[in-house]
Symmetry: C2
Subunit: 216 residues, 2 copies
Amino acid sequence: MKAGNSKGKNIRWHSTHVERREREQLLKQRGCTIWFTGLPASGKSTTAFTLEHELIRKGYLAYVLDGDNVRHGLNRNLGFSMEDREENIRRIGEVAKLFADAGVIVLTSFISPYRKDRDLARTLHNDAGLPFLEVFVDTPVEVCETRDPKGLYRKARQGEIKGFTGVDDPYEPPLAPEMAIRTLDCSPEQCAEHILRYLATHGLIKPHLKVVPVMQ
Amino acid sequence: MKAGNSKGKNIRWHSTHVERREREQLLKQRGCTIWFTGLPASGKSTTAFTLEHELIRKGYLAYVLDGDNVRHGLNRNLGFSMEDREENIRRIGEVAKLFADAGVIVLTSFISPYRKDRDLARTLHNDAGLPFLEVFVDTPVEVCETRDPKGLYRKARQGEIKGFTGVDDPYEPPLAPEMAIRTLDCSPEQCAEHILRYLATHGLIKPHLKVVPVMQ
């Protein structure tokens, strides 16, 4: 790398990206993707948002990708055909990978019902040496259907929505997820706590000096 | 927001995204997009990489999106037709917006030759209240052609590449960019310094307590 020439400002010029570990040192965390998958209304988003808030509160940089910020933006030109669903998850996998490469703990909250699509996202990350944690939000379909906050199961049962996961389109549960959370047995807070412990145990978040333990 | 129930862990459950300002407080910076545009070999990437390194050195989180990490990933299914070029820049604008929303200073380094495509990216950011800084890397085509590190101008002149910006495809310079940098008059270090000053002046980066001024 050639030395800079900026009148004592000590800036040097560079022709390549900053290395991932430099950003990770700055953030005291490893960039990684936490991929939530599960039926509609299984509790993916509540768990992801709860974890996101808790990570930020502890001083870590986390960001949730979900229907709100992806389907209405990057993927606004995709519909719900088989091809478009596949492309939807492919793009989300690629964007998650970019975020993880930037050092961010990115949480994706999408049904992502097919194994091969999730496996593609995993492979993208593995090939780049980025941690990919699949979290199966394991809630029985009967329970999801009872919750049904947006009334979508009802519409699907009445035939108003076609190809609805859990009703007339299959959900393929992960075979070997890094974590499975059972929302029937655990609150969102407990699920988030469980994932936080995983992140700490696996060295993905490092203690911040400014966090002072308090006697309880 | 309902109080948590996690045995004294003090985690609360959440049903919505973390607000942008919370991440920004954590990072001591505002999420924003610095959009470099200019002819092939004008110096976009060297400036972007130099700025990225300098921001990280100062403790700010920055990330460069460029051909390396976008064309071979998210946009691998796009070619070079008019439609695909437009979609290429659209997706980059959407991804940059996601990064800015996450609190990151994202630097995009793409020729992005057409005004309407850049304006779309700007509008996406404006609509979300996110700063968008267009940086015109203003290097005369003759100079770019002399540099020609990848021999692409030569191939375009010989007709081996069709639709090459600056040779047989137009480049539309920005009409009112936030910044214009003249790589003939300034080193990459000086260009980066110039943009850093802009970021500080406009309150996009805030002083870090840990940066101690040194007498010179």
